[in-house]
Every structure is written in structure tokens, then in C-alpha cells.
């Protein structure tokens, strides 16, 4: 059915006669009435005949190829649609549903959004916060569209790594994790609806303490943490800060803490499985911080400054960038008048840091 919306009629002619000086306005307005709501019937009718989405000329941003919602990516039926796209009913054209850049994997076309919430994938290392404790599981905020769940059976229970969970454990579920606790975990599986199930069945994972939490945007685009080879590493801090652990959760949650001897280290020292169990159980679910020296705290804060400066300036956050940024920040502090205590990395100083990092 062709559109029959009438174009507004041409402007009145009678007023010009009333006042001769208006004649000049007259011609002006005649021009402008061309620019308005006159619909191109022929084109619309044609588009209707072809199907409802009339193909529009590609206006995509030159070499950058940004697509926006509603933009037809291709009419070619040989492509398959991936995330960030949809196929309009009754046609074969693949249309973008988000604003972002196109990626393709063989025949699969998908659009990576400029920014989106974290979408969990199996094997992701995430940092999360417990928001709810239920009978046999915890609900963990990992920055995704839904809360992730951590079943009681998917954590390391104290007193033996491969112990079966008992009713006693269920009753004292809060002694392991309580509301507000931070933890590092891995995505074990995904539900159909996109919900994630986590596990901490490794000595690498578990409760977090002795440090600070920073939230930046995660996977899904728009800077922030990117998936990389190594998400967790220990660095030797400058000016007597001692070793510091950095955990970059793929979900954009970052944990920076004082390095404590890992249980693996303990294994070497004690060389006995039974001793390990006890030492692990003693510290694994502790909510007490160890003593942290002021130098360490200062360096932790400096790393946090680096991370936020990276995010503020739209740079990706990974091991390489954080390490380089950190060394740069230390150098910047050296030349500053305050000395090593100058940990401020906001505003101009952040931009300066970012400029140095991008220059290389």
C-alpha cells in the first residue's frame, strides 16, 4: 500500500497582495517548501514492492566502518547473522542491531558494540562480589546482565581439597562467603538464558583480601579489560612496595592486592598434603587483612591510578599496558616535587601518561 500522505500544500498566495513588500519573502518561502515533508511516493512505493526495508545508500563512516542500529549490513543471503544483528522478517538482509564495528568469522557476520555489558563465556576469569546467599549457592555480581551463581559444590571446602560437601557446610555457608565478599572465579558453564555458573575449585581462585577493587568496563567493547593470555600476575613494586598481585577480571572488575605467599609456595616449604590442607583452610576464607605496609599501600594505589587513567583515556587494560603504565607512573613520580608519594594520576597527569603509552 503506497503512502498517500499529502504533502503540505504550497503556501498561500493572497498575503503578498496585501503588502507589496512581502513579495521578496514570497520567493524565499517557495524555496523552503521544497525541503519539507514531501515524501517521495515513487521511491516508497517501489520499496514497498520490494519488501519493507528499502536499502539505503551506505553512509557508513568511511574507513572506520561504524554501523548503527537499523543499518543494513548486507543483502547477500550467503552470510550468516551473528551477535549484534538481526534479519528482518521476510527478507534476507542482515541488519545491525547495535552501534559498533563489524567482525566476521568465515561466513558469520557480527557487530561488536561500542560498549555493552559483559557477556560471560566459559573459561573467563572474573572478579565478582557476593550479593546474595542462598541455601546451596551464592549469587555473584560479575557485571553481566544477570547475577552469576556459585554453587556450594563448586568451591574448595576447607579441610581437604576433594571433600564432599556436607549438611554442616550448608548450614555454615556464610562462613565461606558472605554478602559483600569479593572473589575471583572462573566461569564454569552457561545457562541457556545467558546466566553464568562459577567455580573456585583451584587454589588460584577464591576470596580476595589485602587489596583494593576497581571497576572498569569489561569485555563487550569500549576499552577496559580485554581477554588476554594472562589475567593474573605478580609484579615487584618500586620503592620498597614489595610484590603486588594484579587480577584483571575479564568482566572489567580489577583487584589489586599485596602478594601473599601462595599455597603453592607453602607446598614447597611444608612438603606435605595434610599440612597444606590445614594452612589453606586457615586463610582461604579469612576476612582479615594481613598487615600491609604504607609503601605497599601507596604502590597499590598507584596501580589503581594507572588502571583508571588507562580507562579514562580510552586505552585497553591488559598486563602489558598496566606494567608499562606503572613504570611510567613511577618515573613521573620521581621527577615530581613530592617524590614517590605523588600517586595522583587523574586529569592532565593521566592524559600525559596515556600520551606516553600511545606514543610508542
Amino acid at each position: 500500500m503506497p503512502v498517500t500522505i499529502l504533502a503540505p500544500k504550497a503556501m498561500r498566495q493572497d498575503y503578498g497582495q496585501a503588502d507589496k513588500q512581502n513579495i521578496s519573502d514570497d520567493s524565499d518561502d517557495a524555496d523552503s517548501s521544497n525541503g519539507g515533508a514531501e515524501l517521495d511516493y515513487a521511491e516508497l512505493a517501489k520499496a514497498d514492492a520490494e519488501g519493507h526495508t528499502h536499502k539505503r545508500p551506505r553512509i557508513a563512516g568511511g574507513d572506520f566502518e561504524i554501523v548503527t542500529p537499523g543499518e543494513v549490513i548486507t543483502d547477500d543471503p550467503q552470510w550468516m547473522r551473528g551477535h549484534g544483528t538481526y534479519v528482518a522478517a521476510g527478507t534476507t538482509s542482515i541488519i545491525s542491531s547495535v552501534a559498533g564495528t563489524i567482525t566476521r568469522t568465515n561466513k558469520l557476520l557480527s557487530v561488536r558494540p561500542l560498549r555493552a555489558r559483559y557477556t560471560p563465556e566459559v573459561g573467563d576469569l572474573v572478579v565478582g562480589r557476593i550479593v546474595e546467599v542462598q541455601a546451596k549457592r551464592w549469587r555473584v555480581d560479575v557485571g553481566a546482565t544477570q547475577l552469576a551463581s556459585l554453587p556450594l559444590s563448586a568451591i574448595n571446602l576447607p579441610g581437604g581439597i576433594l571433600r564432599k560437601r556436607t549438611e554442616t557446610d550448608e548450614l555454615q555457608i556464610r562462613t565461606f562467603f558472605a554478602e559483600g565478599d569479593l572473589l575471583v572465579a572462573e566461569v564454569q558453564q552457561l545457562f541457556q538464558d545467558g546466566g553464568a555458573v562459577l567455580h573456585t575449585r583451584s587454589l588460584k581462585y577464591g576470596k580476595l583480601r589485602n587489596g583494593m577493587f576497581v571497576a572498569v568496563s569489561g569485555m563487550g567493547g569500549g576499552g577496559g579489560v580485554v581477554r588476554s593470555r594472562r589475567q593474573v600476575w605478580t609484579l615487584e613494586a618500586a620503592s620498597g612496595g614489595g610484590p603486588i598481585d594484579v587480577v584483571l577480571g575479564v568482566n572489567g572488575y580489577v583487584w589489586i592486592s599485596k602478594h601473599v605467599e601462595t599455597p603453592e609456595g607453602l607446598v614447597e616449604k611444608t612438603s606435605g598434603i595434610t599440612n597444606l590442607d590445614e594452612s589453606v583452610s586457615a586463610t582461604m576464607y579469612s576476612s582479615q587483612n594481613d598487615r600491609i605496609g604504607p609503601e605497599t599501600m601507596r604502590e597499590i594505589a598507584r596501580i589503581r591510578g594507572v588502571v583508571t587513567a588507562l580507562v579514562d583515556n580510552g586505552l585497553r587494560v591488559d598486563e602489558d599496558m598496566v606494567m608499562r603504565g606503572y613504570h611510567e607512573a613511577v618515573e613521573m613520580a620521581m621527577v615530581s616535587s613530592v617524590g614517590a608519594d605523588d600517586i595522583y594520576l587523574g586529569g592532565e597527569r593521566g592524559e600525559q601518561l596515556a600520551a606516553v603509552l600511545t606514543a610508542v
Binding site: M1, V3, T4, I5, H52, A89
Partner: protein, 293 residues
Amino acid sequence: MPREIEPSLNEKQFVLQALQEKFRLDGRQFDQYRPLELTFGDQYGVADVAFGKTKILAKASAEVTVPYADRPLDGVFAIATELSPMASPAFEVNRPTETEVLLSRLLEKTVRRSGALDTESLCLVAGQKCWSIRVDVHVLSHDGNLIDTACFAVVAALRHFRKPDTSVEGGILTVYTPAEREPVPLSWLHSPFCVTWSFYGDRGEIAVLDATWTEEQIRVASCTISLNRHGEICQISKLGGTPVEAVALLQCTSIALTKAKDFSVFLDKKLAEDTKKRNIGGFMAELRSENDR
């Protein structure tokens, strides 16, 4: 709050498929209303309207109050809607649901803001005394299309209503009882009627009038158009939902206009019948000295 039970997937598909085959479950045409029933109460200003199983009672009442300070020359006119659990268990007392908010806004826009009632005529003594007209809308039974029914009921009740006659002499306001002086009708300017379209299909291409509750639950969009018989739009509201072609909406509007004219004729006829019934024998009957005893 007990949630409204939703129709099952099969049920939805059944209704939708039927609609696609140009068939409605109750055998009506797409642009056909259910049988309209209108009864006036014994009192002035009570109207009971039913579209099929949807039944709404509206009662108009008047009292003398002080006008609002910022509008000393206007009377007070309010429409109160109450969706009680009587109509559906999903409605709760004292907690307006979205349906109720939208209904009362629609009535407000259709009847009040369009100036159907001349509020200036309600003024008795400027800045001191005025009539306050209030219409209470009670949903007695809910089977879809509350808006059209409620609007019709409100308009019918207000047009049927008679307020006591008054006079002002030497600054003294007198309100006469019906025995002293015949009550007078409100100063009514035009009668707007709501016509609600429900849309179905992925692109909203199927348009249906006067949806039943089941049909209402599965519609993808709706559009309420309020018009009077002079062809004036008082209000249109298509509040979101699946987008519908602009041309289709224009067609809906023109059909709505014919429906509004039908409603107008129907209401005029019913009002005339009622007046006749109340006034058997006319003036002569009152003058007679004999009575029934």
C-alpha cells in the same frame, strides 16, 4: 497482588491465526463493536453502559464548593476512576495499576481537557462559590475495551445529569430543591467518544475495534482516538507498542470518526427516549388536578 493470568501460547496462536484469516472469535467484523447497551438510572446522572460483557456504571454528582484560587471563574470538574477487585482480581484498592492511570488520563484528556463541559458555567459567585461536578466511574465487569466503555458512560452520565437550579439575588445564593424548581442540565459543548484500535501481527497490520479481554491481552499495540461528531479530534494516544504504518493510522482515524458519529446518534436517541419517559403527558399532566389515587 495476584497477577492476571495470561493466555497460553496455544490460545494466543489460535486467536492470532484466526485474525490473520480475517475471523474473530466472536464472529464480529474487525470494525464492529459488541452490542451496546445503555440504561439510565432513576436518578439523574446515572448511566450504565455495556459493550458485550464489559459493564461500567458512571454517576455524576454536584455540590457547591469554593473554586480554586488560581481559577476563580471556573467550576470544579473531576472524573474519578476506580478499578476495584470486582472487575478483575488484578486490580487492587488504593494502588493504581498502569491500566487505571492510563484510563483516568485518557478520560481526563478526552472529556475534561477538550472542554466538553463548560466549566465557566459552573461558577456561581466569582471566587467564592461554584459547582463541583464529579463523575465516578465504576467498572462492574471487565471484558476488554474499558476505555471506550468508560468514556461513553462518562459522557452519557454527564449529559443525563441535571444540577439543581440556583439564583443569586443581592449577593444571596439560593439553591432550589427539585420540588421548587426543575433541575437544569449542564452546559454541554460537545460529546467526545473514544474509539480504541488494537493491532496485531509483526508489523501491526491487523487492526481490530473493541477488543475483548483475550484479544486485548495478546495485542501488540493499541491506539485510542477520541472524536466528536463534528470531526474534531480531542485526543489521540498510541502509547508505544509495535510501530504501525502512518497511513493505517489515518484510515483508523476516519473509521473512528464514523463510529463516533454512530455513538453520538445512539446517545441522542437514548436521551430523548429517557426524557419522554420521565415526562409522560408533559406540561398538561402536571397541571391536572386529579391524581392516581
